[in-house]
Symmetry: C2
Subunit: 335 residues, 2 copies
């Protein structure tokens, strides 16, 4: 047996690795949410009982969570002493990916046997936890889409009278724009009532209640609105795939062109379907993103499918900022 | 670098392995339940679209499930062709472990942030899917506890007038006993009404409606019953840990001794807490079993803790059958 062969067989997962990883993914999500990951970050060693006490957690249950993290080397344990393990830093950086999956999409995946059956795929045939997905996506956006968004913004010469954000979520993007451009007003649009309310609430809390408004609207088939005439910057993040399949996406983007006649720049950021990876090499997050949308019946286009679309929509692609993680993510700069 | 060192470093997981494994564990559970694992078992290559059509599944959703299985080498994919991968046989053998975790215990693990908090650990502070756990445990028992149970039974010289099964579940054990010993009657006891009804229904369906009865009872504090005097064989599988912590277990087993004065053999089979494994080496299933019970606040004794208990209960340990998987499982032979 050559060393090359040994490495290959050593790198192969075992059934136990898969099993323990499934438990660990839930444990990562929970350890983030209850504050354990932040306590461990940069720490040498912590006492489990003291850690549980400090965070108001049951010590035995906390031990179970830490055992799961230790089984895949995210933490190291020695009796009741715990510290960061070899995978801690990477997992902690990308904890929002795990949370999106194991807290946000747990209902969808757990009910997979029912979701798979053709006869069940009508009406509300799956359930995800919208609040958990928002919680994850806010942090996920910070290290992925936000830097690319600002890189694209920094290339623009002036500020804008009004910016509109499609799928405004928590309102965070409009708040950041309002902070950076003191004369710009913001309009948030979201299909969900809770997101609209959250945007209004967060904008008011940030002191931008007079400059940011929001209302409920379906960006896939947007109705006309008088205020849209003033909009000069349009943004849309992590929902572009909702416009697809192709025929619908052409229609939706054309409608947006009509609804916002004075937009000078449209920044459209999303994760696309990966191409060219072997199944075994698909990067962190993308497998979850793609399989979840396959289960839900929502088409995810490749980046080339996006490229082939714009010329039919009235928008011109003038630049794009690639994003390293999630892989196959991008901010398209359209005008 | 020695070969031993190469194996060790090659065997380290990545964050992506953990993530993809979490998706795959749900996919294993679903692929079993909808029939995909049985179709793949022993097959060379299958067409994904034909496979989905045959089983009444949505082809795109099925592709998502298969991509998840392929990401950790349970299946291999080439376009729309799929076949068993390097891990298929092991995963398929132990699919009930994955189902127990990702379908049965998903609620418990998904709600881990709330379950961990001391202030929430009152009343029904967690939820598991009892039907899914029963589905998994029936197959799990077939390759683990059942062979050890029959090995212990085969050492017994005679048959028995009446056998009682504590935690009778689906009634399967009593049905098997009734089949093997034509003169033995069975009494099923379970804390859950659905299990009692299922035992009565399954016994009737198997033609043993006149020889098997069942009623609702809490084995941890069993009330007296006239029929118990006739019981000569007592069995209890996969619930012995519910007797614990120790003080309660002593009381429960003493009470059982009193309630069944004419029992000649008590076969008690359960998984115990593993001892002596490094966190990274804990075998398949045991991490889930231990962490789930830590989260639920249910004590899991080690095998030595069981050994140290019997002398205080009125039962004598006369033999035991070790079980390979789940690790640290055993059937105690008591009289």
């Amino acid at each position: 047996m050559s060393i090359a062969e040994v490495v290959r067989s050593g790198g192969q997962l075992t059934a136990t690795d898969i099993y323990n990883s499934a438990v660990a993914s839930w444990a990562i999500s929970a350890a983030w949410e209850v504050g354990v990951l932040d306590e461990l970050n940069g720490a040498a060693n912590l006492d489990v009982v003291e850690l549980a006490e400090k965070l108001g957690l049951d010590p035995i249950a906390t031990r179970g969570m830490l055992q799961a993290l230790a089984s895949v080397e995210i933490v190291t344990r020695d009796g009741d002493t715990v510290g960061p393990g070899p995978l801690f830093d990477e997992v902690n950086s990308y904890r929002s990916y795990f949370h999106w999956l194991s807290r946000g999409c747990s209902g969808l995946y757990t009910e997979m046997p029912s979701v798979l059956k053709k006869e069940n795929r009508l009406g509300a045939f799956y359930h995800r936890d919208g609040a958990a997905i928002s919680y994850a996506c806010r942090e996920l956006s910070e290290f992925s889409f936000d830097p690319a968004f600002w890189a694209a913004m920094d290339r623009l010469p002036t500020d804008f009278a009004v910016a509109a954000d499609l799928g405004c979520g928590s309102g965070e993007r409009l708040i950041q724009i309002a902070r950076k451009y003191p004369h710009t007003r913001g309009i948030g649009l979201d299909i969900g009532r809770p997101a609209v309310e959250m945007t209004l609430r967060e904008a008011a809390r940030a002191g931008f209640g007079d400059r940011i408004t929001a209302f409920q609207a379906d960006a896939r088939d947007l109705a006309a609105h008088a205020e849209f005439d003033e909009v000069e910057l349009l943004t849309c993040f992590m929902m572009g795939h909702d416009f697809w399949p192709r025929e619908n996406a052409v229609k939706s983007l054309r409608t947006l062109r009509e609804r916002f006649p004075n937009v000078r720049r449209f920044l459209l950021g999303d994760t696309t379907r990966t191409v060219g990876y072997q199944d075994r090499d698909i990067p962190l997050f993308n497998l979850g993103f793609e399989s979840a949308h396959d289960l839900m019946g929502q088409y995810i286009p490749t980046i080339d499918e996006w490229h082939g679309l714009f010329s039919e929509t009235g928008w011109t692609l003038v630049g794009e900022v690639p994003i390293g993680s999630p892989a196959a993510s991008v901010v398209f700069e359209l005008e």
